[in-house]
Amino acid sequence: MTTILLAIVIGAAFGAVLDRIGASNPNYIGKMLNLTDLNLAKTILLAIGTGSVLMFGGQMAGLVDVGHMSVKAAYAGVFIGGLMLGAGWALAGYCPGTGVVAAASGRKDALFFIAGGLVGAAAYMVTYPAWKASGLLNSFAGGKVTLGTVPGAGYDGLTALPGDLLGIVLGLGFIALAFALPERLLPQKPAAQPAE
């Protein structure tokens, strides 16, 4: 029962924050991806950095259970699937989580996104054996690995560097990147001048 309560509290907090940062607003996703407003990218970078520093810092202080980490496997399909997700994300302006939040916040197009997503997930369920047979789901570079070796995590490290320290350094790097990134990368198009 406690876990269900935690699911409700953390899930609701996540949904509310996604709404408040504009991640479930397809205008902000579109402006981030067409490089005209990078505020959301700065938000995401700062979030990854903050999460990383807190988690690895907490582990080193003995306050965070290393066993809660859950590292996914690396395989060629991760990159191919990432390409697909990216293309659909740009077209729709939603990813799985933000689509759910957008639909709940009253965006009707997000309901169509969810419907398409359910059909897409079902299509993957049906075609999974072909991907499995293709070998593209076979782990490479050690599969479930972290960049450094995190003490006690039970995952191999890609390098022998201390994974918790590396996590803090990379986390600080993400935070620095959030500050360094300009608010837009593409120059503003000149406004149409009225005829003389």
């Binding site: 402006k31 990159f79 890609l158 994974g163």
Partner: protein, 183 residues
């Protein structure tokens, strides 16, 4: 207007940290499979079946990893599924508190209107197609923006970096091609 990136980023990072502190890293896209499974199992109860030591399915994807997905389908009141339902609740309350989303924006957002006009049908078709590609890709990759990009890179997972590289390598060119006019 959304929160500025400093406040928003700290809050979002805090939520990802709390999730891993209290339970496990956040992920969403698997739950589309679980909902599909719940619906399909309601139509065809033979899809997910109980075995001596757990659950299995006639679908190879649902049966993989010792029937982990089959088990979640048989028991929808589990952490990850309830988590996504609660996300909807949190999004709904937050949007209501700031006045809700009104008018044409509810069906066709401003950036889309500036580039493709105000036909809801066209926008809905694009959103459906986008949803299909996003979830097919997320399942192929084994995670989405939450699970791979945010939770994964936060944990320094190699897979998170590979996923993010793929996602942005496609998303930025596609967006530059589609959305040339600014709203």
């Amino acid at each position: 207007m959304p929160l500025n990136w400093k406040a928003g980023g700290l809050l979002l990072g805090l939520v990802f940290f709390l999730a891993v502190l209290l339970v496990k890293p956040i992920g969403v896209s698997t739950q589309f499979v679980i909902l599909d499974g719940i619906l399909a199992d309601a139509v065809n109860p033979q899809l997910v079946t109980q075995t001596a030591d757990g659950y299995t399915s006639t679908n190879a994807y649902l049966a993989k990893s010792d029937g982990k997905y089959a088990k979640a389908i048989a028991n929808p009141l589990n952490y990850s599924f309830v988590f996504v339902l609660a996300m909807a609740l949190g999004g709904l309350l937050s949007a209501k508190l700031r006045g809700g989303i009104t008018g044409a924006e509810r069906s066709v957002h401003a950036l889309w209107r500036a580039n493709f006009g105000d036909s809801p049908a066209k926008r809905y078709a694009a959103a459906f197609l986008g949803g299909f590609i996003v979830l097919y890709g997320a399942r192929l990759a084994g995670g989405c923006t939450s699970g791979h990009m945010m939770s994964g890179m936060m944990q320094t997972a190699l897979s998170g970096y590979i996923f993010a590289a793929g996602a942005f390598a496609a998303a930025i060119p596609v967006s530059l091609m589609l959305f040339k006019k600014e709203a």
